[in-house]
Each structure stands twice: as C-alpha cells, then as structure tokens.
C-alpha cells in the first residue's frame, strides 16, 4: 500500500439495495444509448454485486442480430472497461440475450413474450421485467400499447416501463401520452427518466435541505432575495442536430432538467421520505410556478443562438454552420427566463433559470442569494457588503459553498466576503456512480422517487406553455439573439436581471 488512491475500506459497501431477480428488456438495443450508457451502467451494477445471479438483459431492435452478435457488439463497445475485469464480463455476458422485435408489430411482441418466458426459466428471473424504451419518442405511446396488448404489463408488481425524455413536446402532447401509457399500466409501473435526477448533487439538494436544521428556517421569501439556476455547456449541438432542431434548449434542458432542479430547490418538506410524498411536493410547487409575465412572456425570457467564435487557431462554427442544421434555423441554443412561485414560501422571489450551449464553462449550479443585512454597520472592502450566497455546485467540482462577510484583517472594521466550501472530492474522494447506474437500479427496484410523475411532467410543460405558444405563433416577439461561442449568452440575458438590479453569478 504505497499510495492510497481510493478508500480500500469503502469497496463493497454499496450493496445495500440488491436488485431483485428480473430481466431488463431494452428496446432500441442497437442504438447509441444502449452501448454508451445502459449496458455500461448494468455492468457496473454487476461489478458492484448489486445484480443478483438470476438476472438477464434482453436487447430488442429491428436488426436481425443473434444473442452472440449482441454480446460481441456490447463487448466491443465496453472493451476498455472489460479489460480491467474480464471475468466479471464473462459472467455478466452470459445473461445477455437478443430478440429481433418491432414495437409496431403485435406478432413480434407476442414472440418477445415467449422469449421472456424462456429466459425466466433459464435464468430464474421470476417473471419480473423492466421494459426500457430507448426508442424514438414517437413510439412511446404505441410501444406501451403493444406491450400491454401482449399482456406484458398485466402484473403491476412485476413489470414496469422506463420511458426516456422527451415526454411529449408540449402540454397537450404530454397529456395525450400520459393518457395512453396510463391506460396500459398503472402509474407505479411507469418510470419517466430524467438523468439529472440521477446525479448525487441533485439528490443532495433534498438531503441538504431536509437533513439539516440550519438551512430550512431561512429557506423562504423572508431571507432569500433570488435564486439562479444555471446549466451551462461548452459543447455545441454535436451529432444531435436532427433532434435539436425540433426541440431547442427550452424543450431539451429547461422543461425537464432545470425544472426538476427548481422543484427540488423550492418544494415543501415531504412528510416522509417516500416516492409519493416527494413527488406530491414537487408537483405542488410546479403547479404554483409561473412565468414572471405570462401575458407578455417575451418580457421575461431571452432566447439566443450561438454564432461562430473561438480563435483563429481553433475556430468554433456557429450553430447555423453545424452539420444537419438549417442555415436559417431559429432554434434557440440558449434560454434565460424568470419565474415566480405563488405560494407562501416563495411569493415575490424571482427564480432565474438559464441554459446554453457553447458557453465558456461546463457547469450546473443553484445559487440562493440572501437578502442584505438591514443596516450596514461596517465599511465593505468592495464598496458594499456582498449578500450571503449559498451555491450548490451540481457539476463539475460537486459540492456547496456559503459566502458570507468577515472582518478583513487590519486595524479598521472593514468587511469582505469569504467562502466556506464543501467538496465531494475532498470529503468523499470517490467518483459517484453515473446517473444511469442509480436510475436503472431504482427502476429495477421499483422505486420511483427519482422519476417524474405524470402530474409533474404536465405541470412542467404547462409552466412554459406561454413561451412555447409564443415561439410557435409569434416568433418575432421572442427572436433568437446571436451570441458569440464561448461567451455567457446574449446581452439581453444580462438585461433580464439588470432590470431587477441584479447580475448573473459569474462562476
């Protein structure tokens, strides 16, 4: 033991909740998500001994692959990981199967049911099944219907469906999709995945708020002046132009990920830590949320689109120059908006939410800015005392900071701000599981706490309906404003806060 890089005593202690015997069925098994996220997450669970021996993975797609084809393709994709533990892979791969299936073909789903019965016998998976729809969103409704028609969702205790985002494209389509899937399965069988909720730091918002007594008494309009939620990406649209052109930042990031963070930040304490209690509170706070100006939404929202940037050495193309993007595209790659929550806790406190691509830093954070001290007794080094801030860093450099004033050294009584920091790295030093590891495990355990319920999804879509309608009906009122790649978005986004005498935190 010359150098202790990881905590050797921590190994093997993540086995608390062992997943029950089952077969997970992945539709869209030939797609990217399967080999990039899902199989690696399942293999990681296997390596942590959180999957039982009675376990199987059935990949399904239209391609006429065999079990051996599927195994070898997954092996190829995970080659680096497998190299460090080939025995574990051998054991895991013995439970990988493949069945050509087409969700739009009822006969093929019936065949799938027969294959699952044979896997139950072969792997003793007890008839327990998780269906993961990693397919085009257009198949969510019809796919769930096909599963139900084949009787594969009839047992509400032993079957569940995981549905990827986006869940609908607006309020009406989300309502329709909810009606379809709820006609096929009970709500407790439906797991709408939002991978942001798989992040340790997002879950930590709940623990920080409700496992401590020092935060909750000041977590309200009496002490908090405003809240900023930021999710900044340095990357551009990459290979997702086809999807992104029709979604844009509002649908891709704000309606789901950022709104879930908003809900966790603003919700009331649940009566107990269980899925329904937590989801009730999240739904309630989203139902109380509204755009700062619903009748004139263009006054509380800024849309932007990145233009070319970078340097002569490494130029960055603008969004419209990206492959697959319409040269006249009006899709937003940046959104900033201002919200209010009309309840006793938050009345009058503005929540500013922003996200964008090609920004200078990759980071996600929640910043709660507290009200200023009522009387300024001391000179501040910076001219005026800095308001206290609690910064929850979701990624990277996960942790939290509290900023407060202290006496600056010297003979006078001048104050200056300092940070008290908590860092996941410094306190725990172990990398957290990938979000999909946590979320897949929870879905297979039948624990929906970190998944969004139908009323949450609908409330989130309803919240942004005035903006979506405006973009659809009168886009000229909310035009996409250009910003140079690797800058913090269009100048109008700064004005959104400047009107309230505020600035965005520069992380």
């Amino acid at each position: 033991m010359d150098a202790v890089l990881t905590n050797p005593l921590r190994v093997g202690l993540r086995q608390e909740r062992v997943i029950p015997p089952q077969c997970i069925v992945i539709f869209g098994a030939s797609g990217d998500l399967t080999h990039r996220k899902l199989i690696p997450a399942l293999f990681e669970l296997h390596r942590q001994r959180r999957l039982p021996s009675e376990f199987g993975v059935l990949g399904c797609a239209r391609r006429p692959w065999s079990d051996a084809d599927f195994r070898s393709r997954m092996e190829e994709a995970l080659a680096d990981t497998i190299a460090s533990d080939p025995q574990a892979w051998e054991c895991f791969a013995a439970g990988l199967f493949y069945e050509p299936a087409d969700l739009s073909d009822p006969a093929s789903i019936v065949r799938l049911g027969q294959r699952l019965d044979s896997i139950d016998r072969l792997r003793a998976t007890r008839g327990n099944r998780t269906f993961y729809l990693s397919v085009s969103p257009t198949f969510y409704g019809s796919g769930t219907r096909a599963l139900a028609a084949a009787g594969l969702l009839a047992d509400s205790e032993r079957s569940r469906v995981v549905i990827e985002k986006p869940f609908g494209t607006d309020y009406a389509s989300a309502q329709t999709l909810n009606k379809v899937v709820q006609s096929c399965a009970k709500e407790n069988q439906i797991f709408r995945i939002d991978h942001y909720l798989g992040k340790e730091t997002v879950q930590n918002i709940l623990v920080l708020r409700f496992a401590n007594t020092i935060f909750e008494p000041v977590w309200n309009r009496n002490y908090i002046a405003n809240v900023q939620i930021t999710a900044a990406e340095t990357v551009g649209v990459e290979e997702r132009a086809g999807y992104y052109e029709s979604s844009g930042a509002l649908r891709d990031m704000v309606q789901n990920h950022l709104t879930q963070i908003l809900a966790l930040t603003a919700m009331e304490p649940p009566g107990r830590f269980d899925a329904e209690a937590i989801r009730n509170e999240k739904a309630k706070v989203l139902q109380a949320a509204r755009l700062a100006n619903e009748s004139e939404p263009w006054k509380c929202c800024v849309r932007g689109q990145y233009g070319a940037g970078g340097s002569s050495v490494s130029p960055i193309p603008g969004y419209r120059q990206e492959p697959g993007v319409d040269p006249n595209s009006t899709t937003e790659t940046y959104v900033a908006t201002k919200l209010f929550i009309d309840n006793w806790r938050w009345q009058g406190v503005p929540f500013y939410v922003r996200t964008g691509k090609r920004l200078p830093k990759r980071l996600s954070e929640v910043v709660l800015t507290f009200r200023e001290a009522p009387v300024h007794l001391f000179d501040a080094a910076g001219g005026a005392p800095t308001p206290n801030q609690l910064i929850l860093r979701i990624q990277p450099d996960e942790g939290a900071n509290i900023r407060f004033e202290v006496k600056a050294p010297g003979s006078g009584m001048r104050s200056r701000p300092v940070d008290m920091a908590f860092s996941y790295d410094e306190s725990f030093g172990e990398p957290s599981d990938e979000g999909y590891v946590r979320l897949l495990a929870d879905a297979m355990l039948g624990d929906p706490t970190l998944f969004t319920r139908s009323d949450e999804v609908e409330a989130a879509w309803r919240l942004y309906t005035p903006l979506l309608e405006l973009i659809e009906d009168a886009p000229w009122q909310l035009p996409v404003q250009p910003y140079e790649a690797r800058t913090w978005g269009p100048a109008a986004a700064d004005s959104l806060l400047a009107d309230d005498g505020l600035v965005w935190r520069r992380p």
Binding site: M1, A3, L9, R10, V18, A124, G127
Partner: protein, 434 residues
C-alpha cells in the same frame, strides 16, 4: 410488517403422501402462480431457546420460531436466575442448555414453519420447507402441508403463491426421513438453506441439507468459534455461496470505519496503521476476528502470528501481529469485556480502536463504539497527542428474518468476495484450541 400465518390450516399427511399431494396442488392451480419460478427455502428451525422457555413456563406459546420481544425479555430474566454471567447473550447456547436442566413440562402449539415472516413471504418462495426438531428426541415425524400467499398489502394477491412443508419430530425421526426432502427441492430453481441454529448441532443434517450449489445461510455467532469459522472457510473454498448473518451484522461497523477514511486527506493514514484493538462482549471472538480480518485484507496486511492473551477472568483474549506491505508491524488485540446488558448474539462488538502513525504527522486514533456500550478501555490514556476521530456505531435493528429476506430478494450464487477473503484470515487469527 407482521408475521403471517398460512392461508389455510396445514394438512397433516403421512410422509409418503406429501410428494403426490404437492404435485396435485401444483398441477391443479399453482402452475401459473407468482411463486412458480422463484426459489426454495429450506430452514432448519431448532428454536431450542424458545422451546425451553415455553417448557419451563417462562414464556407462553405458540412456538413460532421467531425471536420476538417477549421471548428476548424472558431469556434476559433467566440469565441471572440461572447463575450465568451477566454478559451471557440471549442466543448463547449455554442459556438454552441451562434452561434444559430446569424442571417443567408446559407445552404450547408448535407453529414453526407455518408462521412465515412477512419479509420472507413477500418474496413468494415456491416452497418453504421447515425442519422443526422437538425437545422430545423420540417424537415420531409429523408432516404438514399448506398453500400460502402473502397478504395483498405485502404484494400478494390473495391467491396461493407457493406451499409450505413442515417436518416436525425428534432429531432421529428427521434424520430417518431426510430422503423425502431432496425430491421436494426443485432442481431448476435456486435453493437457500438457512441453518437457523448452532453450527455445533447435527453436522450430518447440515451436510445432507446443504450441498453445493444450494446457497447456505448460517450464523457464525452460534456455535464453537473454531467449528463455525472452519465451516465457513471449507464451504467457501469449495465454491459454495455462503451467507453469514454474523458477517452481515458487521455492516454498520464497516460503514462507520470506511466513513472515517472517506476524506482523501485521511487516506494516507491507512498505509501507516500500527495498532488495532477490538473489544467484544463475552467470550465469542468470531465477529471481532471477522472485522479484523476484513481490515487486514483490505489494507494488504500479512498475518505473522496469533496467540492467546490473558485477561481478567473473561476468558482469553487474542493477540496477533501483522506485517504491512511496507514491512512495518501492526499489533492486534481482541479482548473480551464484561457488559451488564449484552446484545442478542454472542460476541457483539463493543468498540474498535485503530492507531495510525503517518510519518511527519501526528498520529491518528480512530475509536468506534457501540451505541449502548461505552468503550472506556479503548479510550484510556496515551492519546493526548493524537488526532482523534470518534464515532458511535448504530446498531442494526433488523431481525434475522429481515436479514434473510434481504438475501432472498436478490441473491448470488457465489460468496461475497469480501467475506471470502476475510474468513480464512479470521480462521488463522483464532489460536488453536489448547
């Protein structure tokens, strides 16, 4: 969750008719039941303590096999009455033996095997076979059969999910009829065998009931330490999946110790441990040895020697020296300490002290104590100049049945690699019996 009775009163059948009755049961209505493709659970349910408490009039029936609060209270009362040391744990087999020497002939209904803990029945075993030995060694065999299902709120639907089979009688009668158990275990489904008794007892029955690849569940706090650890080591070495409830009860200790070294700034100290002390209740050292063995394995120490250490009347302690990978020595002491209110199982941990001496920095002393007991011996003296990390280890408050249910909920066909690595070290730490 409360324990549940089977759906129907069990049917008493002659042993030879049991297989055909079960075949009819599954042929008629159960082949599509939720339990059809789950697992078989075989339980050796001796319940000697409960039987003796009932026989001597210290507890009332029925005899369920579950160690419930009233039985624990009655057992604790019996310890001083029978002149046993106050440190005697409720499950210490000397208590049941002493009770066996007392007069009494009270009886109660024997519901062992029919009284399924809800945590277990929620997993819907296809078949739950209970072997229930009676105090009367000459009692002939009775076989009882019933269908069962958890209540709807526990996940069942009201229809039958599986069946229970109870074999009740004197130990010899159980031995004589063991052949009927084998065909009752579905060959194509996993099978767990829970030896819910002392490992000193009936090794021939254990051998016959739990061959590999059946998954064995034992409690190494019940029985002679040498026999318990040797059985663990042999079975693990043979490739069988062995689950030890005594090891599982170490979970909170392992978690608490790991937590101390989670901050990377403390990690280096793990490479410079010089001393490890563990205090245990009474004279059953195995749980403490398993903890020490786990630490030694994780930190890459090599055991050099182990030896008995004299104590003040609580039985011998154990000393050992390890060598770290950098060649430096680590001294280990495990000491039995008297306690006024012992926990349920023999050899529960009282405290742990780990002293690290990193070069160029003040030593770090980690002290973990059990919630109910102080660990004054470990806190005594010599630590003024050390960085101190102290914590109280929460007691796991789950019953055996809940621990077992956790295993059944998603088991493995191999032994946990940490236990597999720790058990042989613990076996070498235990000095040979004089």
């Amino acid at each position: 969750m409360s324990a549940q009775l089977t759906l129907q009163a069990p049917t008493a059948l002659p042993p030879r008719e049991v297989p055909s009755y079960l075949e009819r049961l599954w042929g008629e209505g159960l082949q599509h039941s939720t339990g059809a493709a789950t697992f078989t659970l075989v339980v050796y349910e001796a319940s000697w303590l409960q039987q003796q408490l009932i026989r001597t009039g210290r507890a009332s029936g029925p005899l369920t096999g579950l160690l419930e609060d009233d039985l624990i209270a009655a057992a604790k009362l019996a310890v001083p009455e029978l002149g046993l040391p106050l440190s005697t744990a409720v499950m210490d087999q000397r208590l049941a033996w002493q009770l066996g020497q007392q007069p009494g002939a009270a009886a109660a209904e024997d519901q062992r095997g029919q009284f399924v803990d809800a945590a277990i029945s929620a997993h819907m075993p296809r078949r739950l076979i209970t072997l229930a030995p009676t105090l009367n060694h000459a009692q002939p065999l009775e076989t009882l059969v019933a269908a069962y299902c958890p209540l709807p709120e526990e996940g069942g639907g009201g229809a039958a999910c599986g069946d229970v089979v109870v074999l009740r009688g004197g130990r010899q009668a159980l031995r004589d009829n063991l052949a009927m158990v084998q065909p009752l275990i579905a060959a194509d489904l996993p099978c767990w065998v829970w030896w819910n008794s002392s490992l000193d007892e009936a090794p021939d029955l254990l051998e016959a009931l739990a061959p590999a690849p059946r998954r064995l569940v034992v409690d190494s706090s019940l029985g002679q330490p040498r026999r318990c650890i040797d059985l663990l080591v042999e079975r693990i070495a043979a490739g069988q999946a062995v689950n030890d409830l005594n090891w599982l009860r170490l979970r909170t200790w392992r978690e608490s110790l790991a937590m101390v070294f989670d901050p990377p700034a403390r990690r280096d100290a793990l490479a410079s441990v010089v001393q490890l002390d563990i205090d245990v209740e009474g004279d059953h050292p195995l749980k403490g040895l398993l903890l020490a063995a786990w630490i030694a394995d994780r930190l890459g120490w090599q055991l050099q020697e182990s030896y008995p250490v004299e104590t003040d009347g609580m039985g011998p302690g154990i000393g050992a020296s390890f060598q770290r990978s950098d060649g430096q020595a680590v001294q280990f002491r495990l000491m039995p300490v008297p306690v006024g209110s012992p926990k349920i199982h023999p050899g529960a941990l009282v405290g742990l002290r780990l002293i690290c001496a990193p070069a160029g920095r003040p030593p770090l002393c980690v002290i973990l104590c059990s919630e109910s007991g102080g660990c004054m011996r470990l806190e005594a003296g010599g630590m003024a100049s050390m960085e101190l990390a102290e914590d109280v280890v929460p007691l796991p408050n789950e019953s055996e049945e809940k621990e077992l249910a956790r295993l059944l909920s998603g088991g493995h066909d191999t032994t946990n690699p940490l236990l597999a690595a720790a058990a042989p070290i613990a076996a070498r730490l235990l000095p040979p019996q004089p």
